[in-house]
């Protein structure tokens, strides 16, 4: 970058103050010359980044290095260009784009197979993806009910965009909406509400919850004696959980007049997103709690956290999913059935929470001891210290690690296809086995499409994390 010559200099002629007239002092800036041709434009860039390292023949050593560099430059360049060209040729130039006659697989037939395309043709068969688009996006979800999925998706997208775009107002409230109302709304839209809940049980749970909250309040004020005061916060939290549970189940139990669509009719990208987003959203708070628990000085909390984390990190996700889908039904009495998707969701959640906990623990350990001591010196309570001082800094430190875990989790969702859930990859594989579209390029086209979808999501997450990092670490930029 060419430096602006005027930027740092004090202004020459100050009005109202006479300048001594010295012949050797410049009164105006030197003219800005264009950069020499070897520094500017494409040739300059090429010189600096490519040619400079392979044109030094001043000694034997540097000559050898130059030749090796030249060889690798050409080789890597050729590899990149030919791969990119091959992909471009397959996906765009040679591809079949439309099937106007509705002849399905025959639209992508070569002469050898009885079609129109030249022998040896190799290109993407996009009409196949277009025909399977609904299946790969929604799975076997009822076609006339797709608006429900779309509506949930659109609300989610708008909410997410709102939270991410900085100048918009009420971002905090939109965030709260996304984390509380939105999941319920999504469940109702996707599943149809009308869960079979017993009002009797719910009201009992609700009453127990209320009783616990009251107990927490009273004990917290020390009205029930010192022994009980120790259980005040536990009682309060438990009470709120029960009340929340009762309210949520009541909302889900209402019949909204939507047709029930079982989770085994969900599929494609829908399942991928449901599993990934649930895992991502649940793993962060769970991970924070576990990380704090592991660094806690309370032995029981610490031991429980360590056992949890080490157990879930010690088993592969595929084992967890298998256990949940193959073993669990054998332990339950016949006829009692957990939903297959719910099983996978719980498995993925707990699994990713353990990984997240370790990432966050890394952030906590990177924090200077002085920060903890400073917070203590201010007289903050443990939770205030964590919420106001420690976690904001610790989490900022480990954004790359957190997003890494998110991206890993997003891609790991493909494992649910082995327990019979049709995620995006599973749906694509099922589509690929459809003989109505059977051609030699069917599998290639399907997998290319899936890869592209995954890339868009993962790359998007990656870019957003870089943006967040830059935003949050502005104060500590060197």
């Amino acid at each position: 970058m060419a430096k602006k010559p005027t930027s740092n200099r004090p202004t020459r002629a100050r009005p109202g103050k006479a300048q001594p007239d010295k012949g050797y002092v410049r009164t105006e800036d030197a003219p800005v010359l264009p950069p020499p041709p070897s520094e500017a434009g494409i040739s300059g860039w090429l010189w600096h980044n490519v040619l400079a390292s392979c044109s030094d023949f001043t000694s034997i050593g540097s000559a050898v290095r130059s030749i090796v560099m030249a060889f690798f430059t050409v080789f890597v360049g050729w590899l990149t260009i030919s791969t990119a060209w091959g992909l471009f040729d397959f996906a765009v130039l040679s591809a079949v784009w439309s099937d106007p006659d509705g002849i399905k697989r025959e639209a992508c037939f070569t002469i050898d197979q009885g079609g129109q395309l030249p022998s040896g043709w190799h290109g993407a068969c996009w009409p196949f993806v277009a025909a399977k688009m609904k299946f790969m996006m929604y799975g076997p979800y009822d076609i006339d009910q797709l608006w429900r999925v779309n509506l949930a998706g659109i609300i989610g997208l708008i909410g997410l965009a709102w939270v991410m775009i900085e100048p918009l107002p009420y971002r905090r409230y939109v965030g709260i909406f996304l984390l509380t109302v939105y999941p319920l709304l999504t469940i109702i839209l996707l599943y149809g509400g009308g869960f079979d809940v017993s009002l009797m049980t719910l009201s009992i749970i609700f009453m127990i919850g209320l009783a616990l909250i009251t107990f927490g309040r009273l004990a917290g004020r020390g009205l029930l004696g010192e022994t009980m005061a120790a259980f005040a916060s536990a009682g309060g939290i438990g009470g709120w959980l029960l009340v929340g549970y009762a309210v949520v189940m009541l909302i889900l139990g209402v019949d909204y007049g939507l047709r029930t669509i079982d989770t085994n009719q969900w599929g494609g990208l829908l399942i991928t997103l449901v599993v990934a987003i649930t895992g991502i959203v649940a793993s962060l708070p769970l991970g924070i709690v576990l990380a704090l628990g592991r660094r806690s000085s309370m032995p029981i909390a610490r031991i429980l956290s360590i056992v949890f984390i080490e157990f879930w990190r010690g088993v592969p996700l595929i084992t967890v999913l298998f256990m949940a889908s193959v073993m669990l039904p054998l332990f339950l009495p016949e006829g009692v059935n957990f939903d297959n998707l719910l099983r996978a969701l719980i498995g993925v959640m707990l699994f990713s929470a353990a990984y997240m906990a370790e990432v966050i623990r890394g952030g906590l350990q990177a924090m200077d001891k002085g920060q903890y001591e400073g917070a203590d010196a201010l007289g903050l309570s443990y939770w205030e210290k964590m919420r106001l001082i420690i976690l904001p800094q610790a989490l900022t430190h480990v954004i790359p690690g957190i997003v890494n875990t998110f991206i890993g989790l997003f891609k790991d969702t493909t494992l649910v296809s082995i327990i019979g859930l049709f995620d995006l990859l599973g749906a694509a594989q099922s589509a690929i086995s459809d003989v109505a579209w059977a051609t030699p390029v069917q599998a290639h086209t399907g997998y290319l499409f899936v890869a592209a979808v995954f890339f868009v999501f993962c790359f998007g997450m990656s870019r957003y994390s870089i943006y967040m990092e830059n935003k949050l670490s502005r104060g500590r930029k060197h």
Binding site: T110, V197, I208, L242, V326, P329, F338, G420, V435
Partner: protein, 342 residues
């Protein structure tokens, strides 16, 4: 402390209350199926011609048709069936845990499975067998000419075992090239990485459609294993077992008697007493099963007879192009032989 224990008890009750929402409504499978209003059927995750999702995501195939036939028999409505795609490892657990009512997932009937898993095979809806495909240019007319061949197949299936047994029994050497997925096997075979592609003959026919020049390959006449595929139900509920078995028999008998989806209604008053008994105009065979007497009538009008189902999904007019072969009626040179309805 008491409060905390009661909180835990509350949570436990809550969990039980929600987890039991798919609880049992009757003692028998038929009772449960009627109570929930649909048949839950376990199918494959995508096997062309047997159970596969079409462009709209609807399941189609001969295994799927069998479940639709059971739904037609039970409810008079072939659409009252829901499908659970299952992997090979999951399928038996899903059935024995009650997650599904019928397993119709190209499952080979073997003695081990029949006797050790607490399951019963209700019949055979497709007689498959492992075969071999070779490029026509190889000039092989019999599998016995394949000494020293490179053989492509899937890992972890019995096909590997069968081909090893066959070659050892015939004192031939071979080199096994095994891949995880069917797509990889086809791609490797198509690229000429091996001389022989072996899997079940129905699979060979389906995968052949993905070759660059399908006509340049031949399927050898040898069949090296018996793979009778059929629907499976839980052991211990004979009524449900009978319903599934006779739904299949009704489809085969309908073909034998010349009853099709189109002519079933007019055939109901045919002079042939076998036709009358099948279609419910004579006797009360449906009621003996716990169903209505027009059970088989519903099957044939809504799903079709066995031959119609076969031709629709795997027959010569489909890309799979499987000739009937042994899966023809016993009277047409095949081995399909359903017990009579009388």
């Amino acid at each position: 402390m008491i409060k905390i224990t009661s909180a835990i008890a509350g949570v436990a009750t809550a969990i039980l209350a929600t987890s039991a929402f798919a609880g049992a409504h009757g003692d028998t499978t038929l009772g449960q199926v009627q109570a929930k209003g649909f048949v839950q059927c376990g199918v494959s995750q995508g096997l062309p011609g047997f159970s596969n999702a079409d462009d709209a995501g609807n399941w189609a195939g001969i295994d799927v048709d069998l479940c639709r036939a059971v739904a037609a028999a039970v409810f008079g409505d072939a659409s009252k069936v829901k499908f659970t795609p299952l992997s090979a490892k999951q399928r038996f657990t899903a059935l024995s845990s009650g997650e599904i009512d019928i397993l119709s997932r190209n499952t080979t009937w073997t003695m081990t499975r029949d006797t050790q898993l607490g399951l019963n095979f209700a019949g055979v809806n497709y007689y498959d067998g492992q075969g071999m495909m070779v490029p026509a240019g190889l000039g092989a007319k019999s599998a016995l000419e394949l000494d020293g061949a490179n053989i492509c197949t899937n890992t972890g299936t019995t096909t590997e075992l069968n081909i090893t047994d066959y070659f050892r029994a015939n004192n031939m050497s071979f080199n096994l090239v095994a891949y995880e997925k069917a797509d990889e096997v086809v791609a490797a075979y198509d690229a000429g990485r091996c001389d022989v592609y072996t899997t079940d003959r129905s699979g060979l026919a389906a995968q052949r459609t993905k070759l660059t020049s399908p006509d340049a390959h031949v399927v050898l006449p040898e069949i090296i294993s018996k793979e009778p595929l059929g629907p499976v139900v839980r052991q211990g509920d004979d009524n449900w077992f009978n319903i599934v078995r006779w739904s299949l028999n009704a489809m085969i008998n309908a073909e034998e008697l010349g009853i099709t989806a189109a002519n079933a209604a007019s055939m109901a008053n045919d002079n042939n007493p076998s036709v009358k008994r099948l279609l419910g105009t004579e006797g009360n065979f449906g009621e003996e099963l716990g169903l209505s007497n027009d059970w088989a009538m519903n099957i044939v009008t809504q799903v079709g007879n066995y031959g119609e189902s076969y031709e629709r999904h795997v027959g010569l007019n489909t890309p799979i192009k499987l000739a009937r072969g042994v899966n023809n009626l016993w009277s047409q040179g095949g081995i399909l032989y359903a017990a009579p309805i009388r």
